[in-house]
Amino acid sequence: MSKESLEFTDKIVRIESEKDLPEAPISQGFTLVNKTGSWRNVRPLLKEQNAPCQNACPLKVWIQSFIDLLTRGKPEDAALEILKNNPFPLLTRRLCRAKCEIACNRKKYDAPISIRELEGFTGSIAYDKNIYPEREKPLSRKIAVTGNSESIMSAAYFAYLFGLDVDLYTTSPFDGLGLSEEEVEREISRLRNMGINIIAEGKKLEELLDKYDAVITDMGEVKDKLTFQTDNEKLYIVAPERKDFSRDLYFGKRAAKSVYQYLKGEPIEKDAPPPRSVSFNNIVTDYFEPEERIDTINTMQEAIQEGNRCFSCGHCNSCGNCYVFCPDAAISWINDLPVVDYDYCKGCGICVEECPRSVLILVPERG
């Protein structure tokens, strides 16, 4: 705003003393000279916060973000967001217990979002278009992942994404889940297409430990149930509990992360508990209309309609309310996000009050 106004600076009459005052009480300058930001003792900040769905999800899928991308007509980006944390969205569509929907803030308003359906539908786009998430820089370390369980499949997937070279030894993948042959073939071929080397045979553990930099298996004694380390620093054991499909997938990811940290020479850290999530009370529900939930999603139109029901708790989906409500026009809109001009923001807090999704917070100004 100020850049354009600078073109007019030649028209500003400088008033050095009362002698320069014009006859008529007119303002010739811009009110921009009055930097009302000095009045502020608190400042608004854009701070993404966790949503209850995200905290409830064993896989920590950033649900608000993928729904936001989906409803903005970016299904591929939405799918990639899911695939960062969920290796098998088509399986979770059927097998996940959807704790996200139990936690969903919208449940307190009318009905929870059909998150599992949206995630599955969006995941299917990735399958149809052969989209894979980006892999981190290859580490030139090779590991063996051996076993048949979903946790092992997940471990192979994430180890590969972390940049490790993966040989997956499996004779009967996804064993015991009652998947059809087509389903198993679909998932296995996706893992193969990603770049995982799949070997349809079993090998002795000692042999693998000799040959590879590290090994993940699903048989044996675990020393640490949070990192899946064993007494042998090269061996990681992860087995499904079979209580919660998504949680079992997460175990695989956690094991892969431990291996990755070990091979990178970093300390193996336990996961920190998630930060507090945005509660229903933080949501300005006045901005939302009751909308019927769509239980089964088959088309993009249905997906967008259902996605639009999402409160987007703690995630800026560029609704523009702060921009509209700022009484000082101190919020600019850059790259679809609000940017506060602190020269003029008086810290009145209206933007924070009117942010329907609790993304803006007020923090004290330090003198």
Binding site: S17, E18, K19, P25
Partner: protein, 385 residues
């Protein structure tokens, strides 16, 4: 029992209206007046005052509602400031012409543009010729007292009265105010018994046409009532002083007995002038203060009595009549026209738009006054040009 309470000037006015048992209040909010009627609306809503609060959409309507209420025999009250008072202008004439003893508090605020919310007397002095009495108060106690006194005088002479207090310097300043025992106030100010009132059983009409053969007589009667008001104010103030232990007058002298030089002041800045005069007296300067409490009716006699025979007089005006001089200056000079020998009177304009008036300013005015040889009708104190 009377009690003392720390109140803002505006709330002192609200208490005054409550003690005066006003029956109809109609007002429109405007800074810095708003808190007067804000508190009154609370007092009415809490049932502590048996009155009707009429919300209106403008000051013009507020005064119209007061006119209707007063015509029906009710004790009516309103309050306003600056542009709000200007918007009432038409109805101010109406209230006086209809001989309705309405009381209004006007919080002196400078007229726009340029916009200002701070004190200056031009808003009320611009209503000089509407037929309203005007009392300029100096403290929150006076603001409270003059609501009661104004009703007493207004209902006796059948003319409306305006008490005028300075924006912020009084309106938002807190200081102790004595609130009187209601029985004593009732004794001083009994219920309003209108001489003329609209009653369903005894119809009369207000606002009829008066042809050239009668109009002039009505004007004459207003003027006579204004002249009579001088005496009524003196009598009622004396009674008030006796009952409530005050020391008010139609004008108020301070250290005037042997003063060679007199500073004439009005409104809240008078307190600062008084302190300055007191200090200058301690320095041996023969200076006194004359406070103009009443502007309409103009207290000719008292002004002549107090200013005759002085060496020099300085009149302080927190106002200006463009193309003329300070308004109090004009009026005092005209009152002194017939006095022999001629008293040199100098006019000082100061404190416009709420500019602070300090003790130092007053001392400088005194120093300036004693040096002046020629009469200066308009001296701008503190203007930065």
């Amino acid at each position: 029992m009377s009690f003392k309470k720390v109140l803002t000037g505006n709330h002192a006015v609200s208490y005054g209206a409550t003690s005066a048992r006003v029956q109809v209040i109609s007002a429109y909010p405007i800074t810095p007046q708003t808190t007067i009627v804000e508190l009154l609306s609370e007092i009415v809503a809490e049932g502590k005052l048996d009155a009707i609060f009429v919300n209106v959409e403008s000051e013009h309507s507020a005064m119209s509602a007061c006119i209707g209420a007063s015509a029906a025999g009710a004790r009516a009250f309103t309050a306003t400031s600056a542009q709000g008072l200007a918007l009432m202008h038409e109805m101010l004439h109406w209230a006086a012409g209809a001989r309705l003893p309405i009381v209004m508090a006007n919080v002196n605020r400078a007229m726009a543009p340029p916009w200002s919310i701070w004190t200056e007397q031009n808003d009320s002095l611009s209503q000089r010729d509407t037929g309203w009495m005007q009392f300029y108060v100096e403290s929150n106690q006076e603001a409270y007292d003059y609501v009661i006194l104004a009703y007493k005088v207004a209902e006796k002479v059948l003319l409306p009265a305006m008490l005028v207090l300075d924006a912020f310097v009084l309106s938002h300043t807190s200081e102790p105010v004595e609130i009187y025992d209601q029985d004593k106030v009732d004794e001083f100010l009994p219920p309003y018994e209108p001489k003329y009132a609209i009653e369903p059983g005894k119809p009369i009409s207000y606002g009829a046409l008066s042809k050239p053969d009668t109009y002039m007589e009505f004007r004459y009667k207003i003027q006579r009532s204004m002249e009579e008001a001088v005496k009524v104010i003196e009598e009622e103030t004396a009674k008030f002083n006796e009952m409530f232990g005050r020391n008010y007058g139609i004008v108020e002298p301070y250290m005037m007995d042997d003063a060679d030089y007199v500073i004439v002041s009005s409104g809240a800045m008078t307190s600062t002038v008084r302190a300055a005069v007191h200090e200058m007296r301690e320095e041996g300067k023969k200076v006194g203060l004359l406070k103009m409490k009443t502007f309409r009716p103009f207290p000719f006699e008292k002004v002549r009595e107090y200013l005759s025979g002085r060496k020099k007089v300085a009149v302080l005006d927190r106002n200006i009549s463009f193309g003329h001089h300070g308004i109090f200056y004009e009026e005092i000079k005209s009152a002194m026209y017939s006095v022999e020998p001629r008293v040199p009177i100098h006019g000082y304009i100061l404190g416009l738009g709420g500019r602070d008036v300090t003790k130092q300013d007053i001392k400088e005015i005194y120093d300036d006054l004693i040096k002046r040889e020629e009469i200066s009708e308009i001296i701008w104190k503190g203007v930065k040009l």
